[in-house]
């Protein structure tokens, strides 16, 4: 399974993601700079976390209009797998690959802490090694993770089982609607999530709860 990690100016969690992918899949991902017109031949693209363009205008708004995003969108329409984590989720949502918006955390503070995530959908390419309803620990680190969407979209997301991760046991850190932490698109090839699974995969991290998510990528 070949993957690429996209970097924009201000992205700062690409190294965490590269480390996690290499440690779990055994394959070193390709790093792609945002000005590239097209992707290399890969099965999976990850847009990692950070503060691309300093969160100017809106989080992810400027990065979403970078040259590489056009090719990512085109290939995603044809089934390329995409995962957006934190700022990455914001970027792919701004680019129209997922519905809804990520707004400022309800209490207006940046928050970095461990939360509990419920695996609502274990049929995705990132959750196939989990059991449905399983609860895992995972850290968050964001100031604008408050997921919101209109009523129609929410009905569809919930109705179609497209909420992949939900904050559990009262651990919602940002006020997100319906405790939504991560969603998947209709076609089932694009996932966006606010928490940082790449920071919970080895003993140093205290827990390895999110390792099986990455292992799911190989099985998918």
């Amino acid at each position: 399974m070949k993957s690429a990690v996209i970097t924009f100016p201000g992205i700062n969690r690409e190294r965490d993601m590269l480390m996690a992918l290499e440690a779990t899949t055994g394959v070193k991902p390709i790093s792609v700079w945002h000005t590239e017109a097209s992707l290399p031949n890969v099965d999976l693209v990850i847009v990692p976390g950070g503060f691309s363009y300093g969160d100017y205008l809106r989080c992810g708004a400027i990065a979403a209009r970078s040259p590489i995003m056009a090719d990512i969108k085109a290939k995603a329409m044809k089934g390329l797998k995409v995962i957006g984590v934190c700022n990455g989720f914001q970027i792919i949502t701004e680019a129209g690959l997922l519905p809804g918006v990520l707004m400022r955390n309800a209490d207006l503070h940046f928050v970095c802490r461990e939360v509990k995530l419920k695996i609502e959908n274990n049929q995705t390419f990132f959750t196939n090694k989990m059991t449905k309803g399983q609860i895992v620990s995972c850290p968050v680190a964001h100031g604008e993770g408050n997921y919101a969407c209109d009523g129609e979209t929410l009905k569809r997301l919930e109705g179609e089982g497209r909420v992949v991760f939900r904050y559990a046991e009262g651990s919602n850190p940002n006020g997100a609607t319906n405790d939504i932490a991560g969603i998947i698109n209709e076609r089932g090839n694009v996932i966006g999530m606010m928490p940082h699974p790449e920071n919970m995969i080895e003993p140093l991290h205290g827990k390895v709860d999110c390792r099986p998510l990455f292992e799911s990528l190989i099985a998918a």
Binding site: M19, F51, H109, F110, G143, N199
Partner: protein, 727 residues
């Protein structure tokens, strides 16, 4: 002799005074020049000779500190200190203050403090891997405190999180002496290759001097001068002197600089911090015994119509100055274009030892570079030996009428409670290498494989006030102890000396004796200082802060598998005390919170005992003999034990303790836990005594007669900060 342009204003005594130069300093300047200065020259001199840039009041004393050691690659004098951590790797680190700006504008003041210290580290070729910050605020009841806490924490987090460095440690204290002068000390720690450290001293005559980074604007002009003066009632008016930061630009600058350094284009490089272009250019030239000539027409500006004076003193952030290998100009420029930053050749190095500024066809400044830089004035300010406060006889301290109430009050007090409200606003995980997060004795970050470094920020200002010599020793000892507690070998420290007005002999006496104490401890513990910062004039309307010499320690952990934490691990583990029971109640948290007295001599530090006990505990850790360890500091023995139990579901059942043993703050002591088998061996050596056991029940019980639930303790511990900040 240079003829001044007709546009130069007359230099009046008022203009000199508003620049922070004393009459005798101005006379010295006149003699040096042999003529009246231009405004630009006056601005440059006032910036270079102010306390913040010249260290004129403290240099004499700082020279007495030990700065070398087998692992020290670069001591004080450069942008940051450098230590060797084996395998061809080095750690680059420093702590710096941004006190005055943060009081005026808490968000930007603290944000740019973080930005500045990060630059000091990456300008030497090191990628920042950890940040810490020591914050001191006024008393909680003061009308400004909540706003300052909110702004400072948001600013520190806002800059560090966006830039992308994990914040792994720090301190927060509240005391009325900081009501008019808060302290924001920011520390950065970076990783570099030991043979690829970049220095700031210019080398080579006729080489291009290049401006890198963000454009220059009018922000922060005279920031350095503002930091060198005490506040009067009109502090708010100084708001335009606070710099404005952009962490995104700094992140781009970091990546661009590291790429530039890897390309071989850099001969010397320095960040533009206090007094911006002036201090960076003067320091680079003076250190290298070279002159510098600048053409300000080439400086990228974001404001129109800036004068030479403004350009030289602007403290616009996220800028660097370097001496370039001329044949690599194209390559170097391309890197900065890629990252969206300015790259402009603005001058050259010369062999005249003059600092010459040209602008719009005129020579705006022509100054002797050494006398502006490393030959700036140095003072031997008069000082009075601080009066020692009397040792309080513990037998005069009554036992608390309500022990449970006293414990809850202490654990829930502003200085002792959980700081979770603060550090959950910092990204503590970015980099995926955080091995120990805030809340323990030291932050720990993995370097590679099993190798890691430990970092900690420490000082007990009330001890320093009561006895600057003992307090200075204690700050260093506590740093050394905290690094020891996680299993690290303490290597070196950086210091941030925050004091009041040095023109007052009693304040100067605090500085002199604190430095003596710091030096004594550093020598006894083989723990040298490699970098640092001095912040004086922390005083408002004549009232100074508690003397606060913050120590930022770094240690090396060779095997992460042996790292220890403060958390209780197993039911039935024996709780041991290393260093014996305490008797000293002067300047304790107990005396202040329960008796309402801030009195007495602080606990003395016996450095031989400190060394012996620390080396012993580190040995136990290396031999995997203990399961948890925590040093005893603020609050004493009982608080230390509570802090070890709180993050777990365990409790403790302790043997009999009197109130002095519970709350005394004698130094050089540790609480360790281990299996009963290990305990027997350790106790047999005579180095520790058993004081209790870890219990499954979530209760803290003492001698079966007294008990308090961990749940109640947790509520008190976690409750104060969020409740206070909700207002």
């Amino acid at each position: 002799m240079m003829k001044h342009a007709a546009s130069e204003p007359a230099i009046t005594p008022e203009i000199v005074a508003s620049h922070g130069l004393k009459p005798d300093e101005y006379d010295r300047f006149l003699k040096l020049l042999g003529r009246v200065p231009t405004m630009t020259e006056l601005g440059i001199c006032s910036a270079m000779w102010n306390e913040h840039c010249s260290y004129k009041s403290s240099k004499k004393w700082l020279k007495t500190l030990p700065t070398s050691g087998p692992r020290v690659l670069q001591g004080p004098g450069e942008n940051a200190g450098v230590i060797d951590i084996d395998d061809g790797q080095a750690i680059v680190f420093k702590m710096e203050s941004h006190n005055h700006p943060s009081f005026i504008e808490p968000y930007q003041g603290s944000a740019t403090g973080v930005g500045g210290i990060l630059r000091d580290v990456f300008t030497m070729g090191a990628r920042p891997i950890a940040a810490l910050n020591a914050l001191r605020f006024g008393e909680p009841s003061h009308p400004k405190t909540r706003h300052l806490v909110s702004g400072v924490v948001a600013g520190v987090g806002g800059y560090g999180n966006s830039f992308g460095v994990p914040t792994l440690g720090g301190e927060v204290n509240f005391h009325k002496s900081y009501n008019g002068n808060i302290l924001v000390n920011a520390m950065a720690v970076g990783l570099a290759d030991a043979d690829k450290i970049f220095l700031s001293k210019a080398e080579g005559v006729g080489l291009p001097v290049v401006y890198l980074g963000a454009k220059t604007g009018r922000d922060g002009i005279h920031g350095a001068t503002m930091a060198s003066a005490a506040f009067e009632a009109n502090a708010e008016e100084k708001r335009p002197t606070v710099q404005v930061g952009d962490p995104f630009t700094e992140k781009c600058l970091l990546e661009a600089c590291l790429e530039l350094m890897a390309s071989g284009a850099v001969i010397a490089i320095q960040d533009m911090g206090a007094a911006g272009l002036t201090s960076s250019a003067v320091e680079m030239g003076a250190k290298g015994n070279l002159g510098i000539e600048l053409d300000l027409d080439k400086v990228p500006c974001r404001e129109t119509g800036m004068t030479a004076y403004e350009m030289m003193l602007s403290e616009s952030q996220e800028r660097m100055l370097m001496v370039l290998r001329p044949e690599m100009e194209k390559q170097a420029e391309a890197i900065f274009v890629k990252w969206g930053l300015d790259f402009a050749i603005i001058g050259k190095t010369t062999n005249t030892l003059r600092f010459i500024i040209k602008y719009q066809g005129e020579v705006k400044a022509d100054l002797p570079i050494k006398e502006m830089g490393d030959n700036a004035p140095e003072y031997d300010r008069p000082w009075i030996e601080p009066k020692k406060l009397p040792v309080i006889d513990a037998s005069t301290i009554p036992a608390p009428a309500d022990l449970k109430g006293a414990i809850l009050k202490i654990i829930g007090s502003p200085d002792m409670c959980s700081r979770r409200w603060v550090w959950e606003q910092y990204d503590t995980l970015i980099g995926s290498n955080s091995a120990q997060l805030p809340g323990g004795d030291a932050g720990v970050v993995r370097i590679q494989g099993q190798k890691a470094i430990a970092v900690s920020s420490d000082v007990t200002p009330r001890y320093v006030y009561a006895d600057p010599f003992e307090g200075g020793k204690q700050a260093v000892a506590e740093s050394w102890r905290n690094l020891t507690c996680v299993g690290a070998e303490p290597i070196a420290f950086t210091d941030n000396l925050n004091f009041g007005n040095p023109e007052r002999p009693e304040i100067m006496g605090q500085l002199v004796f604190a430095i003596k104490g710091i030096g004594e401890a550093a020598r006894a513990l083989d723990f040298p200082v490699v970098s640092g910062n001095v912040s004086l004039y922390n005083e408002t309307m004549g009232t100074g802060i508690l003397p606060t010499p913050t120590i930022g320690g770094v240690g090396l952990l060779r095997d992460l598998a042996k790292m220890t934490t403060i958390k209780f691990k197993n039911e039935g583990d024996v709780i041991l005390l290393v260093g014996g029971h305490g008797h000293h109640m002067g300047q304790t948290v107990y005396l202040r919170e329960i008796e309402g007295r801030e009195e007495g001599a602080p606990p003395a530090v016996n450095l031989a005992k400190e060394r012996k006990n620390g080396d012993y505990v580190r040995g136990l850790i290396q031999a995997s003999q203990i399961t948890a360890v925590h040093d005893i500091s603020d609050g004493g023995l009982l608080v230390a034990i509570i802090e070890m139990a709180l993050p777990t579901g365990f409790g403790a059942s302790l043997n009999k303790l009197d109130h002095i043993q519970m709350f005394a703050e004698d130094q050089s002591r540790y609480v360790v836990t281990c299996s009963p088998e290990s305990a027997a061996k350790i106790i047999a050596t005579g180095n520790a005594i058993q004081i209790g056991l870890i219990s499954r029940e979530a209760q803290l019980s003492i001698d079966s007669g007294f008990s308090i639930s961990m749940a109640e303790l947790k509520d008190a511990h976690e409750g104060w900060f969020p409740t206070y900040m909700k207002g």
